[in-house]
Symmetry: C2
Subunit: 396 residues, 2 copies
């Protein structure tokens, strides 16, 4: 053990993968402020503000709205362990990695899982979901991913939540990649349990998972027959800490500085305005798309269901995609994502999330990608991408 260790100074990166996204200096500065106690009256007030800001961001009046003290996968698990009991049935729509993870969660709760499979790259099909709800009237909940980070596909949350309501099931919605990038209307949809992540379109550091639960979901939690299998994620206990009023019961020690960061990130989003943030993500996506298409590249997902903030781009035949990513990272500090599961080697995932959704990032990424592809003699059209992208941005 004679390794000489020293303070870590990260290399400069441009984060254009599937998250984390670039974190604004304001958020980093907020996180570096002195730590206070997790039961300090000043911190309790901050928690109240975070709750208010999350309600605005989720577009909900849900009382049970908070940040789980863990990453998005802890938020996902919080939803399932609180809403399911052994022997329950859940319907899970699977059209990518995160639908599969939902299924894993359901099964580990001891519940039966009915999956509605869809080809990766396609949205969840409401007709198939309705058929599953019809043939499984015992199903307690319907779970689906709003924005599949593994494929860049947006599903129709409005219709799917309406179906869940019609068949008397609770809806569980993954908005990890959608929140802040495209409309997430929790009350408008009538969604029951919705979770997200701090490090995508909210442009905060990773580590927290915003969640919100409808009164119907809370009623379900209150009427459980047995304790939640996770003590850490048991909302009946967490509520006592994140609840209303000045009196908070100690449950666990909140990650105080991470909450400072989330507060600042949500504040910045509120200052920009939700609608303006959605418009920016859309505009930046169109610029990237124009540049990529000018180069001759194409998307995995159909335009009708394509996420602006997560662009799954097909790897041209004969190209070593890993070499392209390594070149971007090593030469230009740009991180883009690889394909997952059946899409490994077939797509890149280019994120335009939060602060990463910017013109300089897009121009850098297009130029670097063009350079990488030319080095591999890929059949692309060089020299057109930047102007194509800028033409889109300058349009009214």
């Amino acid at each position: 053990m004679t390794v000489k260790l020293q303070s870590f100074h990260p290399p400069k990166r441009v984060l254009m993968g599937p998250g984390p996204s670039d974190v604004p200096p304001r958020v980093l500065a907020a996180m570096a402020r002195p730590t206070v106690g997790h039961l300090d009256p000043a911190f309790v007030s901050l928690m109240d503000e975070v709750k208010l800001l999350l309600q605005k961001t989720f577009m909900t009046a849900n009382e049970l709205t908070l940040a789980v003290s863990g990453p998005g996968s802890a938020g996902m698990e919080t939803c399932f362990v609180n809403l399911l009991e052994p022997g329950d049935t859940a319907i899970v729509a699977v059209n990518g990695v995160f639908g599969q993870r939902m299924k894993e969660n359901v099964e580990r709760c001891g519940a039966g899982c009915v999956t509605v499979e869809e080809e990766w790259g396609k949205p969840v099909d409401p007709a198939k979901v309705e058929a599953a709800l019809k043939s499984h009237p015992e199903a307690r909940l319907l779970a689906f991913v709003h924005a599949e980070t593994s494929t860049g596909v947006l599903s129709d949350a409005q219709s799917l939540c309406a179906l869940a309501q019609r068949y008397d099931a609770l809806s569980v919605v993954d908005t990890v990649t959608s929140l802040g990038g495209v409309p997430v209307r929790v009350d408008g949809w009538g969604a029951d349990a919705v979770y997200s992540g701090s490090q995508k379109c909210l442009s905060c550091t990773p580590g927290l998972s915003p969640v919100t639960f409808s009164p119907r979901a809370v009623e379900r939690i209150r009427s459980r027959n047995r304790k939640v299998q996770s003590w850490f994620m048991d909302l009946s206990l967490v509520m006592g800490y994140w609840g209303s009023g000045a009196k908070r019961a100690y449950h666990h020690t909140a990650p105080v500085n991470a909450v400072y960061g989330l507060h600042e990130a949500l504040l910045m989003l509120a200052e920009e305005g939700l609608e303006a943030a959605w418009a920016r993500h859309r505009k930046m996506h169109l610029a990237l798309k124009a540049g990529l298409e000018a180069m001759g590249l194409s998307f995995l997902a159909d335009e009708s269901c394509r996420l602006p903030q997560l662009n799954a781009v097909r790897v041209p035949a004969g190209v070593d995609e890993a070499q392209v990513r390594a070149y971007l990272l090593e030469k230009f500090g740009i991180e883009i994502g690889a394909g997952l599961g059946p899409l490994a080697g077939q797509v890149w995932r280019i994120g335009l999330m939060g602060a990463s959704a910017s013109v300089p990032n897009i121009l850098l990424c297009l130029a670097a990608l063009e350079s990488a592809l030319l080095r591999q003699q890929a059949p692309i059209r060089p020299g057109l991408a930047a102007q194509a992208a800028l033409a889109t941005v300058s349009e009214r």
Copy 2:
């Protein structure tokens, strides 16, 4: 929703409660460095360094040593959900809040829990534990708290781990409050699953839970009959991300900036030296003790089992203890802790953890406490505490 929100600037605090402790500027600065991806080669190298530093801190060669992406209670749950299966039996020693929480965890795993109860304020009794191990040969594990944060009591981990080995049970040890403050010799004890927290004697921000597992514990995890009930905490998956080599499988998104902070905090501890840090905690405890006793105050725990870093001090008869804490916080920015459970109203918990274990903090705390008690006409001896404390510090 017309509340005008703005950036959060925390009040200045001196953290002398049961954690979090004061976080050094170096750690805060590390956390504010730009975020990189959780699979970035630079971050993977950092994870390797964190692992090495944690091994040094835990005094272990255990390969499976990492920081769980959640607070100490997530680290606790990670131990139980991975080591227990439904129908197993576990013996849990309970001498405070955190032993109770261990029991909750065991039961939520569907395992049977045999508790060995001890009066709060006393250490776990190895003789009673041995009796339980004898009468429950089926017990798979023995769990206990090394340093009970609710009472300020240290238990004899060496003897308890040896008993677990003798009766062929795995030992699970809570070192949340002990790690970095008093000796924690994981390999020396032969402990099997040990968890801690970032925000106590390590003086990092809250939110991460260092854990380490012996080869025997890993073997137990590998030979499970059924999947771990928590997907997020399933070490067979987490190992793929925190494992050796450059190739890491994505499991969840690590809280990147929090890991920067933990790295810096562990580095500072390595620079000071573990033995020096233990000696500093001890020396500062003796100073605080001298001051408190000069004033006429006394401790809950007997000297033989008293933690230097967590001082449970008896509230004098007739004193409104909540008013004292409020006065300290409002007038001097000092946070000290209240009693929990049966000790509510009976003790204060004064932390001297990590960077908080310093002479200026002790002098401020003694003077402020004296002032608060005099305001309530408590029968204390004023004017003696500071010199009594300093006399101890200046001793050779």
